[in-house]
């Protein structure tokens, strides 16, 4: 079955170019070099219709960058993004717009993701009117319907973002995304900035919308509990690479990759009392200078020589499960 959205071989690099002063300094012998961060390194990821794929990892692992490439606001350096099997960068005209609108994003920061100078009805209503999804005269009732769908009183349409709480602003952001009738929503740490009880409310909005509208999600988060609850499949990222991917229950019941194991072991859980924290020894390496071979080897208890030389490839270890670890090659 053709996935709704597929990322094939995506790589993205950020280079801090040297300006004139730095070039001069280098010419004079100073140890100045161009700094390159490989944010995303040859990633393959697919999301099918009505599927929720969770993407977990820590800061600097590249999950936000991957999310933005999936939505289309950031172009990849290598690889392609395919929408319903067709390369998105080769689409033109109406097809290109349709592909762009089909994938929307909800952002982490509820305070910066809404234009403070626009009223809610303009924030939500601008895009559908511009793209002709709804006629201008019907925009009012269209926006009201959307607000109701996300659990907000339609009377709020006249107000400005600063008059709302964080949770309410996230709902407005969801309404804005829904207004263009998307098929896939990328949630970039969408509930991370919210209090626990508000988090539950907003997650429930996501779950309900999925049932009502048949949406698919790419749910990016560093919170394992949330990801476990909402996802069908989970991908784990570390320093730009996907190290493991599996259906949710299997991943959490029997994690394969040492990094996944450590993450799950260290996440605080409500039923773990008097936990004696024994953290992963060693630093998270800087993305500017990732370790050779397997990125995780400096912190891995089971690291072998091979791990220092050769980056492990994602190999299938069971039906629907892949993992990138040399340990899996051993009989």
């Amino acid at each position: 079955m053709t996935p709704l959205l597929e990322c094939r071989g995506i790589s993205k690099r950020f280079t801090k170019r040297l300006d004139l002063a730095a070039k001069l300094a280098r010419g004079l012998g100073a140890a100045v070099a161009e700094e390159t961060v490989v944010a995303v390194d040859r990633v393959d990821l697919a999301v099918h219709e009505r599927e929720v794929v969770g993407l977990v990892g820590e800061s600097g692992c590249g999950k936000s960058t991957l999310g933005r490439i999936a939505v289309g606001v950031l172009p990849p350096d290598q690889g392609q993004v395919l929408y319903r099997g067709r390369r998105r960068d080769t689409l033109k005209g109406e097809a290109a717009v349709a592909a762009a609108l089909a994938v929307q994003m909800i952002f982490q920061n509820p305070f910066a993701s809404l234009n403070p100078r626009l009223r809610v009805r303009d924030i939500v209503g601008e895009a559908p009117v511009y793209h002709g999804i709804v006629a201008r005269r019907d925009a009012g009732s269209y926006v009201a319907e959307l607000l109701r769908r996300v659990g907000l009183d339609p009377a709020y349409a006249d107000r400005y973002p600063h008059q709302f709480s964080g949770g309410q602003r996230q709902r407005i952001g969801i309404a804005r995304a829904l207004a263009v009738k998307p098929e896939l929503i990328v949630c970039d740490e969408a509930v991370a900035a919210l209090d626990v009880s508000i988090q539950a409310q907003v997650l429930n909005v996501f779950i309900r919308l999925r049932e009502e509208l048949g949406l698919a999600y790419l749910f990016i988060s560093h919170d394992l509990g949330v990801v476990e609850h909402i996802s069908d499949r989970v991908a784990v990222m570390y320093l730009g690479r996907i190290v493991e991917m599996a259906p949710t229950e299997e991943l959490f019941a029997a994690p394969n990759h040492p990094y996944t194991r450590a993450l799950i072991a260290e996440a605080p859980r409500l039923d773990r009392r008097g936990q004696s924290y024994a953290p992963i020894v060693g630093e998270i390496p800087s993305p500017l200078d990732p370790p050779r071979g397997c990125h995780f080897h400096p912190r891995c208890r089971h690291a072998m020589d091979r791990c220092r030389q050769e980056a492990p490839a994602l190999r299938q270890i069971a039906r629907g499960r892949v993992s990138a670890c040399h340990l899996n090659d051993q009989p």
Partner: protein, 328 residues
């Protein structure tokens, strides 16, 4: 555990005059922490939890003020202390850690300057070499690699997790008797959080530091705390030992919080949630402040319930506490 609490807060009230009226951010809160004990102070935005921490260390900016109550630190009332004496306590015997490490770190000074300054401010006769040695030791203690080199860095050259660790190192420099941690790991990754939690746990065990961990995340409290105080709209709604609160919570709000944690719910199904939002501090309902969101509220709840002990050591502020055991 030794009898006398390190900190005893009694009937604390903190108020802010605003354009729209007086906000009672903290409205009659009492709590106590003993040496070596960890108290989890749980509450969401607007519950007043941060204000309590700031009151203890007396960093509330005007026009906010402590309107009533006592804060007894080893028997001494901090609300009555003149500022010079408070300054002598701050950073030495009472320390605070914030969610944003840049509230501790000065962005324009190198780390060694800042740490040495924190040392010599309270021990003026310390020699430069000794101060430096202790700074290196402090960084090493929080697990920062190559501390001698790192000392020469500026805060912006470190990652978020490292900065928070430096902030902790500074908080721990003088081995404080009381440490107040205000959501220091909320913005951090799981692995960094684990490192910081292990540091702080070690400290409590080794030096008998009393720790107040302020958070809205019950899961962190579960692993760390000995006792829990739950705040809602400026009041304590429940308090007691950790096991009692997590397994036998009686206040509907606490139950709601625990039930809404994803791991307590069946996968894929909507989470159990608390309806509505916390009331605005300017528009508090009469009587029980939770009644508009509570499924058990009735006419009795129009009066303000008192905080009363419902089981040994376990107090709750509710007319209709939940008595059945929480589902696993």
């Amino acid at each position: 555990m030794s009898a006398e609490p390190t900190l005893f807060v009694d009937g604390l009230e903190v108020q802010f005059p605003t354009r729209a009226g007086i906000v009672r951010a903290v409205d009659g809160v009492s709590l106590a922490v003993r040496p070596g004990e960890v108290l989890g102070l749980v509450g969401e935005s607007g519950s007043g939890k941060t204000m309590i921490g700031l009151s203890v260390i007396r960093l509330i900016d005007p026009p906010g003020r402590i309107a009533a109550g006592h804060i007894l630190f080893r028997g001494e009332d901090l609300t009555r202390l003149p500022e010079p004496r408070m300054r002598a306590l701050r950073g030495v015997r009472i320390a605070m850690m914030f969610q944003d490490p840049m509230m501790t770190l000065n962005p324009v000074l190198r780390l060694d300057t800042q740490i040495v300054e924190a040392l010599t401010a309270h021990v003026p006769r310390m020699a430069a070499a000794e101060a430096r040695r202790r700074a290196v030791a402090a960084l090493a203690r929080v697990g920062i690699p190559s501390p001698e080199e790192r000392l020469r860095a500026y805060p912006h050259q470190l990652s978020g997790g490292m900065r928070q660790r430096v902030a902790i190192a500074i908080a721990l420099l003088h081995r404080p008797e009381l440490l107040i941690a205000d959501e220091p790991t909320t913005a951090l990754d799981v692995t960094i959080q684990a490192q910081i939690l292990s540091e702080v746990q070690g400290l409590c065990r080794e030096y008998g530091t009393a720790l107040i961990w302020i958070t809205h995340d019950l899961s962190v409290v579960a692993g760390l705390a000995d006792s829990v105080v739950v705040l809602y709209a400026g009041q304590v709604v429940e308090s007691g030992p950790l096991g009692d609160i997590l397994d036998r919570a009686m206040h509907p709000y606490t139950r709601g919080l625990i039930d809404s944690v994803p791991s307590r719910n069946r996968r894929g199904v909507p989470l159990r949630q608390i309806a509505g939002m916390a009331p605005s501090p300017l528009d508090l309902p009469s009587g029980c402040r939770f009644r508009e969101r509570c499924g058990r509220a009735d006419a009795a709840c129009l009066a303000m319930p008192e905080l009363a002990e419902a089981a040994p050591g376990h107090a709750v502020r509710c007319f209709h506490p939940v008595r059945d055991a929480a589902p696993a």
